[in-house]
Subunit: 375 residues, 2 copies
């Protein structure tokens, strides 16, 4: 149940408290899965149920306060959080709002993530009620959370290495798993089973596609159409271990590799090489984007970026984009994800997971082969 | 890719438009997975990525409008939605807000789910910007959405029957899957594989627990502790087919069944029987709660309710609670989920999935046996 040592959580809190002091925030308020888990260690798939809100408060001084439904009290008690305040939820008259307001009493400036890539996982009307009754102000703290979560600790990296290794091991078995004539949805199912067998705890994300020489889009669930010779099969997996994701894809030609697909694969592989060469501490995401963009010979795809942060969520800050000036730091884990629109109207995507270090990046995913593998 | 016929989506829209007319709403705005999917058919695991917001507008007259990141355009084009407006996302300067504001222009009253069990899946600061620039008012439309989604169509029921059947088939294999000495996390993994093999597309939720004669809480991920004789193993699964959930649990004694566990199981089984007898169209959720509560001999557990709606989400409206006066209607799918705190301090939970009809409810899950099964 306990994913990290106490010292890990204390360090996370201390960093957040230092940032709160710098930004003159009295406390931080979280209601989203990743943030509640990052600071408390509270890990459960029960977030799948939209019914109940969950809250965690980090004061600038002192210990965190969990304000949660009673159903979560036992699990929260297994974490390092000691101040656990519960109510019987669901409760339509007051689903934790007054308990939360009481816990926030006396604070003038409370940070709440309100910026890019955040959401409000509580009823908006309850938030409005809270805001009206709360004497202080809610202030956006997205930058603070982004900065805290982007650089991974040694303990987080150990898990990320492991889940990326599990993904690589499952992909290595592709020739035994995928074959011509196999319906695509069966290929997906077989691959999920392979990931679980290799040690993944869960596969919250598996997208992919197959088509003659390339594919159409990269976020679809699978059809039941059978794989055919000349198809390029792409699978992109977000498998999970102890709440941390891998996120990379692999491409396979079924039976034989059409020339256009081989050539697109080659361009993308070389773009990933350019990304690996450019992914250095001190460089910006923009630099990294430019390196891959130039290697691709310009052009755009519909994906909107060439990679992103990776960790407790399938995608995290930052974005490998022309507009993202986030400076890469040792300990950041990111994906390199160049994509290409082909002359045929199809597309292809490559993705690797890497760790930024003081020197060359370390591959967390086992590097894709330089030529489109045929199975 | 197409989960339902065109007529299904047209009927969903017509019902929503009639409700909009009754409530004098000019349009509905959705940004959450279940609502966007319910009205458009847009189904993808890509919602796992928190990076990009997605919007669907239903005008009181006319066709729906999707305002979405370009990466989703191909998939949305496979649905029945024809008016698809896209932007290149992520975009920190304007992540769809101005495009959305333009699409809402001219509307005075726009419904947005803001009530119980809803959340705002877009950055709060972007919502504030939208609200400030929008000439009209956002009005809570939770009741409308709840009412639309609670009663399932024949096509939805066909999928729900199938996924509940898959869950039952996997549980039927329990004696082959679980055994003393097996680490609990391996039992979870083996059960996920069993569900996939039986035809589940995904297992977004698997919680459970094991302990001597009962267990501690019901939302935890598994430990690596080995199953022992006298343990009661409980697994509660939310497996998915075409985006629809089953949600029920089963209890198994390992090796032998302690008396207290047998007795708690018996009380819960009879409480489920009382629930099945009370689950009639025209009764309220409160009536159903009372029937199970009386059969349990009063008392409370930490779960907060004795069941809930079931469908596109693991848990949906309504709640089987003393305060929920929702009237049961034919076509509603709900869970019966009585839970019990035992004298030992442990707890036990039973759960069945049922369909409300004009007469006796239909079991969607295969009824749990009347005595605690020993494996």
């Amino acid at each position: 149940m306990i994913d990290f040592e106490l010292a890990e959580f204390q360090a996370r809190l201390e960093r957040a408290q230092a940032a709160m002091a710098a930004e003159k925030l009295d406390a931080l308020l979280f209601c989203t899965e990743a943030e509640v888990r990052y600071f408390s260690g509270f890990r459960t798939q029960f977030w799948q149920s939209p019914t109940r809100p969950w809250f965690l408060i980090l004061p600038r001084g002192g210990a965190p306060v969990a304000v949660i439904p009673r159903i979560g009290a036992d699990l929260m008690a297994k974490t390092w959080i000691e101040d656990i305040r519960t109510w019987s939820s669901p409760n339509p008259a007051d689903d934790g709002v007054s308990l939360l307001a009481a816990a926030l009493k006396g604070y003038a400036r409370v940070g709440l993530p309100m910026g890019a890539e955040t959401s409000l996982r509580m009823p908006l009307s309850d938030f409005m009620t809270l805001r009206a009754s709360f004497g202080g102000a809610f202030v956006d703290c997205t930058a603070l959370v982004k900065s805290a979560r982007m650089v991974k600790s040694a303990a987080e990296l150990a898990i990320l290495r492991k889940i990326c290794g599990i993904g690589s091991a499952a992909f290595a078995r592709a020739p035994d798993i995928f074959h011509a004539g196999q319906p695509l949805d069966q290929a997906f199912r077989a691959f999920k089973i392979a990931l679980l067998r290799e040690g993944a705890e869960d596969v919250p994300y598996l997208a992919g596609a197959a088509g003659q020489g390339g594919y159409g889009d990269v976020i679809s669930p699978p059809s039941s159409e059978a794989l055919r010779e000349n198809d390029v099969l792409m699978l992109d997996t977000g498998a999970v271990l102890r709440g941390y994701f891998c996120d990379f894809d692999r491409n396979f030609a079924i039976g034989r590799a059409p020339d256009e697909a081989k050539s697109a694969y080659d361009v993308l592989w070389r773009a990933s090489e350019a990304g690996l060469a450019a992914a250095r501490a001190g460089a910006t995401c923009r630099d990294l984007y430019r390196a891959m963009h130039d290697a691709l010979g310009g052009g755009t795809s519909d994906v909107g970026r060439y990679g992103h942060g990776l960790g407790m969520q399938l995608t995290e800050w930052p974005s490998i984009c022309a507009w993202d000036e986030t400076v890469l730091q040792p300990g950041m884990t990111i994906t390199l994800e160049p994509s290409l629109n082909m002359a045929s109207g199809k597309m292809m995507v490559h993705e690797e997971n890497i760790l930024i270090t003081e020197g060359a990046p370390q591959l967390l995913s086992e590097r894709a082969p330089p030529e489109l593998p045929v199975i």
